[in-house]
């Protein structure tokens, strides 16, 4: 479980971006919604322990991350993986990107490459395995960043707008992949604007507005809203 206790965060002194967030995340899939600039990305980076709150606590499986020693910090961090809104790929090929999390965990190049290629194959994107990062479309880059994140084995997978560049076919693939991950017992946290995508994942939906939690419901309840949008 990830728990936030009275979390405050600001980029500049004059404006708080998160204002006293209290949140427990333990569902298989949690979706964060909210208007542009509401603080979704900031919240996800706090959850991922990439940003340190100005005030408040972040507990990962009961341990206070920012008070942990550096060894515990590393093992807690390895339970979490965050995928940026705009995927950040390293120099080199797709497969070398996907190998990275394994290499830093001490895998041999050979084993890392084998596993990376297997994953790309399962995801149906093995045909781009040996492309350079500047030879990918936006959607392909998004899928590669996703593959690289899940191969890390992290328990909590935190995705920021993961489908913004994906076509229908690839969205479906991603949904399948997410369902697989849930079956493996991994927890998924997603920020998205896409109500249909949110609806199709059985999820707890949390809405945030101006840095505060404003509403919480289950994804089934989105259907009435979708009705309203479609038939209005």
């Amino acid at each position: 479980m990830i728990e936030l206790r009275d979390v405050w965060f600001s980029y500049t002194k004059d404006k708080n971006v998160l204002k006293g967030i209290n949140l427990k995340i333990n569902n298989n899939v949690t979706i964060i919604m909210g208007p542009n600039g509401a603080g979704k990305t900031t919240l996800l980076k706090i959850i991922s322990c990439l940003y340190k709150p100005d005030k408040g606590e972040v507990l990962i499986d009961g341990l206070n991350f920012w008070k942990a020693n550096s060894k515990d910090k590393l093992s807690l961090r390895r339970k979490l993986v965050y995928v940026h809104e705009n995927p950040v790929l390293f120099k080199g090929t797709v497969v070398s990107n996907v190998m990275y999390p394994l290499l830093i965990r001490g895998y041999s190049r050979e084993n890392a490459k084998k596993e990376a290629l297997e994953l790309l194959n399962r995801m149906g994107i093995d045909h781009i395995a040996f492309r350079q990062r500047d030879e990918l479309s936006a959607g392909e880059a998004q899928l590669v960043a996703f593959a690289r994140a899940i191969i890390s084995g992290a328990k909590y997978i935190i995705l920021d707008e993961p489908i913004s560049s994906l076509d229908l076919e690839h969205r479906k693939r991603l949904e399948f992949n997410l369902k697989d991950l849930v079956r493996e017992g991994r927890k998924i946290i997603i920020a998205t604007h896409d109500r249909l995508f949110a609806f199709k994942l059985k999820a707890r939906v949390i809405e945030i507005d101006q840095g505060q939690l404003s509403r919480e419901f289950s994804s089934e309840e989105l259907i009435t809203e979708l009705d309203n949008i479609i038939f209005s």
């Binding site: 980029y11 002194k13 980076k45 991922s48 990439l50 590393l74 961090r77 390895r78 979490l80 993986v81 965050y82 940026h84 950040v88 390293f90 120099k91 990275y100 999390p101 830093i104 965990r105 350079q132 500047d134 690289r148 994140a149 890390s152 992290a154």
Partner: protein, 216 residues
């Protein structure tokens, strides 16, 4: 023949002094700018602003300050390094420090939120993430080094005031040119100027080449 030999000797000395100064300056400037780029507090922003302003600091002023520091009655006089190549190296390293910090700060600041964060979240230790950051910014950091080197090899104030332009010991391009002009030897001065120009423009050609490749 003797003249050619001397010119070659001066060229080699200049290259060694300025590249050593660049590396020395980088040894503190790069870690400093890396730490600055990680921090988000206001003091950092102010400090970066000050460093930016210091880029244009007059070289003779630095020369003068270091002269006072290193002269036998100065606080560091006991080191006995005034009028040695070491003094020039230290002086040039200090001279280009604001330049190297500001330029590499920009590089790191942009790369930090992307590559550092990505490596860390993928499970890297701090040193693994640092290696990744350097791998990703390598080309740009080399460009920063070369810009620093160009400024160091082309400056006169520091080399003259703390080096003293001693023949066969601390004489470098710029001090020789100044001396030859003073003596009325315009041909020698022009010839040296030409070599210096070739070195500096080769450096900037390399900079442009690396800079252009950066989007890979």
């Amino acid at each position: 023949m003797a003249l050619i030999a001397e010119i070659i000797e001066i060229s080699i000395r200049s290259l060694i002094i300025s590249s050593t100064a660049t590396l020395l300056s980088a040894s503190w400037s790069i870690p400093i700018s890396f730490h600055l780029s990680k921090s988000k507090n206001r003091l950092t922003v102010a400090l970066v602003g000050v460093l930016n302003a210091l880029i244009g600091f007059p070289t003779v002023l630095i020369g003068l300050l270091l002269y006072m520091l290193f002269s036998s009655s100065g606080p560091l006089g006991y080191l006995d390094i005034l009028y040695t190549p070491i003094a020039i190296i230290i002086g040039e390293a200090i001279l280009i420090t604001p330049l190297i910090i500001s330029l590499s700060y920009d590089v790191f600041h942009r790369a930090y939120s992307e590559y550092w964060e990505t490596s860390i979240t993928l499970g890297a230790t701090s040193s693994q993430a640092f290696i990744k950051l350097i791998e990703e910014t390598y080309g740009e950091v080399v460009v920063v080094f070369l810009i620093g080197f160009s400024r160091a090899i082309g400056e006169l104030g520091v080399a003259l005031m703390v080096g003293g332009n001693i023949r066969g010991f601390t004489r470098v391009f710029t001090t020789t040119i100044a001396l030859e002009v003073a003596k009325g030897n315009f041909e020698v001065a022009l010839f040296l100027g030409l070599i210096l120009l070739i070195i500096v423009s080769t450096t900037s050609a390399v900079i442009r080449l690396l800079g252009g490749k950066r989007i890979d």
